[in-house]
């Protein structure tokens, strides 16, 4: 048997006949040519059943030629490489391609699911809304699993997409969407006018409709003109031609997404997709039109297809979609398709024209007739033609054939125009939905604007190109537009259906005319309701072929004009976009950069276990030989409190504040006063949000009369910067203050513990560390470990402590030099967990306590707030609910059972039985304190401070844990602050 029985001996401008390619479909080996699509390859090989439908598993074959294909979706690749739901018309054949049919078992050719078709009667649109309600439990146990089993097309992929996908952002004067005659003319005109042009077409070759059917431009072949024009464009430096590139979405301010697919024979390393984000000043939409179906019984059988597609397979690929064809339609294109097919070797059984007085002496014409029914089950075997005027006595004509090519007219591709929120109009006479007022800087041209003659398309495209270039400031003369002898309007009377029976409207979701009529009868009258009730247009083709038919049927059922029915909303993407392409460059650190401190390499080498703090990573603790995590953390605490520890605090936000009004500004930004600070001294500062809740805290240091340096928490640093700029630029623009973010410039480490003074004394011999010369909250510039540093005396751990900041380039040197110097002092590096334990022992609050709901008073910080209502947030503190008695307040909880440990996420309750009852509050932070030898917690508890001394319960019902604790002051350790003095 011939390997490609339906391949013609010659012809096919897209294929290269030197050396066939082999490919597999559903386990069978076939042959095709380079340049074929999988669809043309399957047709050439004589594969007629290439898919099964969604609901009834009916056999389906290729219907279309490109993006509009509703039927044949396949899974390409096998095993982990499988990609489901690809349109066979869009898959380039490549050597060794393996594809399989979907939604069928064991194969699309022989699918047991086909039996479901028999149950079709009880499964009309929306049947599931009417049943499966009793008994309630069965929904989850039985009914829904059954429905889910039937759902879906392709298999769920078992593995992630491993391919490389690229992205590119570009700016253009003019983006032309669609590279048919209109688009190429537009691009050429705009480019010659001097505009920066991007021309994108979804096909492998520019030419649009000319790929499917020959046409004349100038005095020669249309495609030759296209090739010459694209060659000219290719030579212009400000022009970018994108093939296999679908304009998928039209977004705000003329941003368009274009998904470019790799060629079938692309060299390895070529990105599988490149997603272009084109910001265009002007857009020309030259997206052509989609051929419409006709509705008749059996119109879904393999072998019933779009006439222009049937012609296209012959012209572009040298493939016959059948050997004996009935061609039926309502416009002149049926004659050119018939001649095209005949010259390729198809015998033309009949050409049925719905119009009564058309004729073509060279063809077996049946004027005034249409198909009423297609025969055959696994593929079409014949068609019944009948008069369209319903004259009595017409017994119909049954014609044997294996191809029914239908030409129901054209639907302009208004998708992009509509996505841009352009309005649509309905031309009743021509039966066309047309772009009306544009919704952005765009214009439609050619078939996309309802212009169907080649000459008109060229003229319109050209004019659109000239106009778009002019609107973007380019007015060089572009020359004369190309002309074509083809000036036939191509208009057709509106015609949809003949006869009854199972007429499919949406092939993909098996929506029939009866379903649409049922929806209308049941009161789902809005076109949007019908879409949702029947799923019409919700498939992967988004109704490109079915949409209009659905509208007309619905309008007829309701007896109202199509214009009143309107369309459903057009939404991106125009054709599906790979998720992996959207995600390209944005996975892992690509999306979420990992910020590292200057000492990060050291932490990593030391084997630190890290934790995430915003974008940063910070050492949680440093593992120790022979002990577990808890022991290591406890040791870090113990050794710091007994000797000296060092912690990387490089992640804190740091801001330099200068300017005449710096002090006044800080008084307004913080709830406590900063203007009274003396130079060389610092103060703990509390920042509120305008609604009175605690926003951030940190230390403010005065470096000069109008020069301050302040720290923020790691998490809020960006928010604080933005907040300060907001205040300076919009609320108090009269203040002259410059806030400069210096977080990245400074690295910082804290030395903590009674031994810190001795160690620092050694590392900074020039610095007098006596209490008199260097009291608490003082700041000095000094050389530390021979590095230029700022040293602050402050404490978070509750021990004598110094924070040392150096420019980050020296950060690692500071860290390693201190560690070396500290060896004799027993210096221990500690991480955030030990820091957390020490701060908890001291009752310092963090974001767990300042959770965006708490006021200063809730946190026991009320006395810090200055009574100046001008400061941010202070006025809100006077609102009744913020002054209300009985608010939750911060307390300490000391667990009574010294062996008990607190699990995460505990609530605080009156009793320990964990029965439903309103809890008193919740634990915000917890630890086991090696210092005090028991578990401690901070908690927000209703009326908490008044409960001091009472016993409450700390409980986690989800883990079945509960223990008793005493309410105590949140400062568990060294309340007098003796240790700060060292």
């Amino acid at each position: 048997m011939r390997r490609q029985p339906f391949r013609t001996a010659e012809g096919g401008h897209l294929i290269d006949r030197t050396g066939p390619l082999r490919f597999d479909f559903d386990g069978h080996r076939h042959e095709g040519y380079r340049g074929d699509s999988l669809a043309s390859g399957l047709l050439a090989a004589g594969v007629r059943i290439a898919a099964r439908s969604f609901k009834y598993h009916r056999p389906r074959g290729v219907w279309g030629f490109g993006a509009e294909e509703p039927n044949v979706m396949v899974t390409a690749g096998i095993g982990e490489e499988a990609r489901p739901n690809l349109k066979a018309t869009e898959i380039p054949l490549s050597e060794g391609l393996e594809a399989s049919g979907q939604n069928a078992w064991p194969s699309v050719a022989w699918d047991l699911g086909g039996a479901l078709g028999l149950a079709g009667g009880i499964l009309p649109a929306g049947f599931y809304y009417k049943t499966f309600m009793w008994p309630a439990r069965w929904w989850l146990a039985l009914y829904e699993p059954l429905l889910r089993r039937l759902a879906g097309f392709g298999p769920a992929p078992p593995a992630p997409d491993g391919a490389f996908h690229a992205k590119r952002r570009v700016n253009a004067d003019v983006l032309v969407a669609g590279g048919g005659p209109a688009g190429v003319a537009a691009a050429l005109a705009a480019a010659r006018a001097g505009a920066r042009v991007v021309l994108a077409d979804e096909n492998v070759r520019f030419g649009g409709d000319l790929l499917r059917a020959p046409g004349e431009i100038g005095d020669g072949d249309g495609l030759a003109w296209i090739d010459a024009a694209t060659a000219e464009l290719e030579g212009m430096s400000r022009v970018r031609l994108l093939r296999r590139a679908t304009v998928t979405g039209y977004y705000d301010h003329n941003l368009l997404l274009v998904a470019e697919r790799a060629a079938g024979d692309a060299p390895p390393g070529t990105p599988e997709t490149r997603l272009w984000f084109v910001r265009a000043r002007e857009v020309v939409i030259a997206a052509g039109a989609h051929e419409r179906p006709l509705l008749f019984a059996g119109n879904d059988r393999p072998g019933v297809m779009s006439a222009s597609a049937a012609g296209g397979y012959a012209h572009a690929y040298g493939v016959l979609a059948g050997r004996r064809a009935v061609i039926a339609g309502n416009n002149d294109s049926i004659y050119s398709v018939a001649r095209l097919l005949r010259s390729a070797g198809v015998s033309i059984a009949a050409v049925a024209d719905t119009r009564p007085d058309s004729e073509a002496p060279d063809l077996p014409c049946r004027a005034g007739r249409a198909v009423e029914r297609a025969f055959g089950s696994r593929r079409v075997r014949g068609a019944l033609l009948r008069r369209t005027d319903g004259r009595a006595g017409d017994r119909g004509e049954r014609i044997a054939c294996d191809l029914v090519a239908v030409a129901g007219g054209w639907s302009p591709a208004v998708h992009l125009h509509a996505q841009a929120r352009g309005s649509l109009s309905y031309d009743e006479e021509r039966g066309l939905i047309l772009p009306d007022r544009p919704g952005g800087a765009n214009r439609s041209a050619g078939a996309a604007a309802g212009r169907f003659d080649l000459d008109g398309c060229l003229a319109e495209g050209w004019a659109a190109g000239v106009a778009a270039a002019a609107s973007s400031g380019h007015e060089r003369a572009a020359g004369e537009p190309p002309r074509s002898p083809d000036r036939s309007a191509g208009d057709a009377p509106v015609f949809w259906q003949l006869g009854g029976g199972k007429r499919f409207v949406d092939l993909q979701y098996d929506v029939t005319a009866a379903d649409v009529e049922l929806a209308a009868r049941e009161g789902y009258r809005s076109v949007e309701h019908v879409k949702r009730y029947t799923a019409l247009g919700m498939g992967t083709d988004q109704g490109k072929t079915s949409g209009m038919a659905g509208l007309v049927l619905l309008s007829e059922a309701l007896g109202r004009p199509v214009a009143r029915t309107g369309t459903t909303t057009f939404r991106p993407p125009y054709t599906p976009v790979p998720m992996a392409a959207m995600a390209a460059g944005l996975i892992g650190e690509g999306q979420d950069a990992l910020r590292r401190t200057a000492a990060d390499d050291w932490h990593e080498a030391r084997g630190a276990v890290f934790t995430a703090a915003g974008h940063w990573r910070r050492p949680r603790y440093y593992p120790r030989e022979g002990t577990g995590e808890d022991e290591a953390i406890e040791a870090e605490v113990r050794e710091t409190r007994a000797g000296v520890g060092i912690v990387d605090v490089g992640t804190l936000g740091k801001v330099d504040i200068q300017g005449r009004d710096a002090a006044a500004f800080l008084d307004l930004v913080y709830a406590n006063r900063m203007s009274s600070l003396k130079t060389g001294r610092g103060r703990y500062g509390l920042m509120l949000r305008e609604d009175g809740r605690v926003f951030d805290d940190g230390v403010v240091m005065r470096l000069g009369e109008s020069h301050f340096y302040l720290t923020t928490t790691t998490a809020q640093h960006h928010a604080v910067m933005q907040h300060m700029e907001y205040l300076l630029q919009t609320v108090w623009p009269e203040l002259e203050v410059y806030a400069t973010d210096v977080s990245e410039h400074w690295f910082a480490a804290a030395l903590a513990g009674p031994g810190s003074r001795a160690l620092l004394g050694e590392a900074a011999p020039g610095l007098d560390l006596s209490d008199e010369a260097f009291p608490m909250m003082a700041v000095h510039a000094a050389a530390v470990a021979d590095l230029p540093a700022l040293v602050f005396r402050m404490s978070y751990s509750g021990e004598l402590s110094y924070e040392i900041a150096v420019p980050a380039d020296y950060g690692l040197a500071l860290w390693t030099r201190l560690l070396t110097a500290g060896r004799e002092h027993g210096l221990v590096p500690y991480g955030t967990d030990a820091m957390g334990v020490m701060r908890l022992e001291k009752g310092h609050v963090t974001h767990a306590e300042a959770d965006g709901r708490t006021t200063p008073d809730d946190l026991g910080l009320g006395r810090m707030v200055r009574a100046d209502a001008r400061s941010i947030g202070v006025r809100s503190l006077a609102l009744p609910a913020l002054r209300r008695k009985g608010r939750q307040q911060l307390v300490g909880l000391s667990v009574i059972d010294a062996q008990a440990r607190i699990p995460p996420g505990c609530q605080v309750a009156e009793s320990g039985d964990m029965r439903p009852a309103p809890p008193l509050g919740h634990v915000t932070s917890f630890c086991y304190s090696p210092t005090l030898g028991r578990a401690l917690a901070l908690a927000l508890v209703e009326n908490g401070r008044a409960r001091t001394g009472q016993t409450v319960h700390v409980a986690s019902p989800v883990t079945g844990f509960s223990t008793a604790a005493e309410v105590v002051s949140p400062v568990f350790y060294d309340a007098e602050g003796v240790r700060l003095r060292g």
């Binding site: 489901p84 009309p124 759902a151 097309f153 996420g905 609530q907 409980a955």
Partner: protein, 421 residues
Amino acid sequence: MAAMQRYSIFSLLRGALSGHRDWQPAWRAPEPKSSYDVVIVGGGGHGLAAAYYLARNHGITNVAVLERGWIGGGNTGRNTTIVRSNYLLPENQRFYEHSLKLWEGLSRDLNYNVMFSPRGVINVFHTDAQRDYWIRRHNGMRYAGIDAELLTRADLARLVPALDLSPGIRHPIVGGVIQPRGGVARHDAVAWGYARAADALGVDIIQDCEVTGIDVEAGRVTGLQTSRGPIGAGRVGLAVAGHSSRLAEMAGIRLPIETHLLTATVSEPVKPFMDKVVSVAAAHVYVSQTDKGEVLIGGTLDGYNSWSQRGSPARLEDILSAACEYFPRISRLRQLRHWAGVMDMSMDGSPIIAKLPVEGLAMTGGWCYGGFKATPASGWCLAWTLANDAPHALNAPFSLERFRTGAVLDENGAGPVAWGH
């Protein structure tokens, strides 16, 4: 009026025999009367539910629902359909749990299968701080009598095989929590089911009827101006989601609500591979697979006031990269469609179901991301509030006054920044 045609497997079989020619309209298409006892503005789930409960619970049947477009075409028709009651604040817990209980009986109550599917709603976490928060929230639910469980990584691997639990990713997942009774429902069916049941009790559902003005006389609402003429009303309930500020403005009232965009997207349908609803809160993405097979993915706001119902591709990149990161096999699928809804973002992230400072006027709104799950209880409470001219204990905390006194219900602690919630 005719008794409602019952839906069941038997009626479906009978329909099959008659070629499905005997099905009656699910709801009528009446001409508006000159006045009603109560008019509900907004034919989304909330408005339709309010009308239904007014008729069913309070015997008030001279009711109209006015919808400017087609019922269910607002956020009801464009959301990610997650239903749950796993809230942090007690006021929210009580309210949403009441709603969940109504969901559990809803299909049978309405005789319309809304396909409520309690398949379990999972939240995962990555850091200690997130762990503490999520467990605390679920512990709080237990104290409120709501189901909640803790999941280990092994549990997650078993329940959600598609989830990437490897330690090598940017933010490794360390655990999760689940509300087993949470799930999804068929969004459209909720609107249609309420409409059909309300219609059967005498409620007029009037589509293509836009309210353009609210008539107030001596501080009392008397009727509405609409695109289909004036309609008198004894009381008026607003249930217009993203459009709340506009309607309130018609009565001279300002609301602490801003309108923002939220995007959702679906993949092409594939065979089932994920039956839980999974939310990765830290990455602002939530994922489920519908009964038709699409993977349904939702994310976070576009973050600026907008009524445009179409979101930014930048947000899509965020949402889809997060989805691909945590559910890697999704990266092999293709995005089929995306859309956006206009969200009524309140200033504390919690709703307003309350009487307004015009006699006879009440509203439900300010739903932010979360109002689909609230549909039954929101309608239930609005109906109560309209019928009794006073809030029920369940919705008393969701007052407008709280924004004046500071007694806000700020689940996320984000402060008065509408787009921060």
